[in-house]
């Protein structure tokens, strides 16, 4: 459907995108995740043909866009984009939604029917005669999605569609995205820095950092088997512990760290210096002893700090290396955790991931 081959984009000597190779399949929902300024929006603008890459090649279906002499308007009419800050045209919602239809010469009853159908799909049935500028941020975003979907695009690009919305509006917009995919079979490429949203909506995630594509994979792959420390840090595998592989035994690597021996399940043999990524929610805390002396993954720690993280509590520990554990509030209360207290931390070898040093 869309293929980028070594795509790069430079503006005034500054590299915005570098060596991006990526394929988006028909009907797929692909999420571009990464910190602000990592190039997600720029890549979306290139794929939506709003800007031309300065290097590399880009295909939309079988048409190589970068080859020149291409009907850009025709290609753009097969796609749609929703920006994080929706543009509002003067007039009512109906006019805002039907602009793309007007550009294609679709007017009258055909247009009216499509607009009503699409407004219903985005949960704005009956909003047609309302002044667009009087709508809330969430409603405006849905109008922007309707404006793109009304032309029945084969690909829909969403650039941080819920960045400025409250949680309730975010859920509504997410439902609309799901419907677009299930009811219309639309291929969707969305940029988001909301990791949970990426997990909820996407078949695959592409992690970007500093204009480069760092890792592409399914959400579980990205979240539980990050390819680099950078990705691990971004996806919240907040504990990154340096160590050296001491030995391998039946699919488990034993890693010597400053805090003791850690056992990590691996799919292939590893050696040398590595980083152990441990997700905070995989760590179990207890008040008892840390297990047999020197047994792997049983760490004697001291609580250094505590803060809340939504419904969970984030416990900062010193286990010979800094470690963060996420525990439920009930567990936190039961353990009566407070700074300075000795505590045991443990995790399953399958709950950690090994990142080989490049």
């Amino acid at each position: 459907m869309i293929r980028c081959e070594r795509v790069g984009w430079e503006i005034e000597g500054k590299t915005v995108l570098d060596d991006i190779s990526l394929t988006v399949g028909q009907g797929e929902v692909l999420g571009l995740i990464g910190p602000s300024g990592s190039g997600k929006s720029s890549l979306i603008r290139i794929m939506d043909l709003l800007v031309t890459p300065t290097s590399g090649r880009l295909w939309i279906d079988s048409t190589e866009v970068t080859a020149g002499r291409v009907d850009l308007v025709g290609l753009r009419r097969r796609m749609g984009i929703v920006f994080h800050r929706p543009a509002v045209f003067s007039g009512d919602v109906r006019r805002n939604v039907s602009i793309g239809l007007g550009l294609r010469g679709i007017r009258g009853d055909d247009a009216r029917l499509l607009v009503e159908e699409t407004l219903e799909m985005v949960g704005l049935a009956g909003f047609g005669p309302r002044r667009a500028s009087s709508l809330s941020g969430g409603e405006l975003q849905r109008v922007a999605i309707a404006r793109s979907l009304v032309t029945r695009p084969t690909v829909l690009f969403l650039d941080e569609p819920t960045a400025n919305l409250d949680p309730l509006s975010t859920r509504v917009v997410e439902d609309v995205v799901r419907k677009a995919r299930s009811d219309l079979g639309t291929t969707i490429v969305m940029a988001t820095h909301d990791l949970d949203q990426g997990q909820r909506l996407c078949d695959r995630l592409a992690v970007m950092a500093a204009g480069r594509l760092v890792q592409v994979g399914s959400p579980p792959e990205i979240f539980y088997r990050p390819g680099t420390s950078e990705v691990a840090r971004f996806v919240g595998a907040g504990n990154l512990v340096e160590g050296t592989v001491e030995r391998m035994d039946r699919g488990v690597a034993f890693v010597r760290t400053t805090g003791g021996l850690l056992a990590v399940a691996v799919h292939a043999p590893v050696s040398g210096t590595v980083t152990v990524a441990i997700r905070p929610e995989e760590i179990v805390l207890s008040r008892g002893p840390a297990g047999p002396a020197g047994s792997p993954n049983h760490l004697s720690c001291r609580v250094t700090g505590v803060d809340t993280d939504g419904p969970l509590v984030r416990v900062h520990l010193d286990c010979g290396f800094p470690l963060i554990a996420l525990v439920r509030r009930l567990t936190f209360v039961a353990l009566a955790l407070e700074p300075g207290q000795e505590v045991s931390a443990a995790f399953d070898p399958n709950g950690a991931h090994l990142i080989a040093r490049a």
């Binding site: 709003l50 753009r76 009419r77 984009i81 543009a87 550009l103 404006r147």
Partner: protein, 232 residues
């Protein structure tokens, strides 16, 4: 002085109420010439300004700077330039535009063209960038994009046109140098005021001035009503 103003007001009321034929004729001519030049300048400036706004080219900033500099070109300079161009030995001499209402329309058009052109570019450039991007992404052709963006900017453009009309109706340099203030043919309100003042008819000058102001007021009121109605 107060008496002269009061006399002027009384005279103006008298001239308007009695529909003084000469005043009506001068006022009508003033309106026709200024509206024609505003219309002509709008027809040129809006598409040209749109083209400049939607294009990226070398020297764009320099061109805008030049246009903005021309906002304040003295009317007598435009009058002089056009006089030289339209005089019998000038390149436009064969068109016999000198001392004609057509020549005055041309002169006023040239005078207000930079204002309308510059303000069109500034207005379109100032629109939300998201509108441009949304239209491009929806598959708008260049001309579709221009038309839709002009529609979005219509109230600001209307204000620019009003400003241009204000400059055209109030200028005296072009009107006198190209029109020549010929009674019954090229005399307009500003040239009539100039003539009557030089002849010492201060009351009549004031009356004509009040009519000129009233015209500007009516046009502005009309524009404001249009803008207000459109935004509701």
């Amino acid at each position: 002085m107060v008496n002269e103003i009061l006399d002027g007001l009384t005279k103006a009321a008298e001239l308007i109420i009695t529909l003084d034929p000469e005043v009506i004729e001068i006022t009508t001519r003033t309106l026709v010439i200024s509206l024609s030049s505003t219309l002509l300048a709008t027809l040129i400036a809006v598409p040209a300004g749109g083209a400049i706004s939607l294009s990226e080219f070398r020297g764009r900033r320099a061109l805008l700077f030049l246009i903005q500099t021309l906002y304040s070109v003295p009317t007598v300079i435009v009058g002089l330039l056009l006089f030289l161009l339209c005089s019998s030995s000038g390149p436009l001499g064969p068109l016999r535009l000198l001392f004609t209402p057509t020549g005055m329309v041309l002169g006023q058009t040239l005078l207000i063209l930079p204002i309308l052109l510059g303000l069109t570019v500034t207005t379109l450039d100032g629109l939300d960038r998201g509108l441009h991007d949304t239209l491009v992404s929806l598959g708008a052709t260049w001309s579709q994009r221009l038309l839709l963006l002009l529609r979005e900017a219509r109230f600001a453009l209307l204000a620019a046109v009003t400003l241009g009309f204000g400059r055209a109706i109030s200028e005296v340099g072009v009107a006198i140098m190209i029109g020549g203030n010929i009674r019954g043919y090229t005399r307009v309100l500003t040239t009539a005021i100039s003539l009557e003042t030089s002849m010492g008819n201060i009351s009549l000058s004031l009356a004509l001035g009040i009519i000129l102001l009233a015209l500007a007021l009516v046009v502005n009121l009309g524009v404001n009503l249009l803008q207000g109605g459109g935004r509701r």
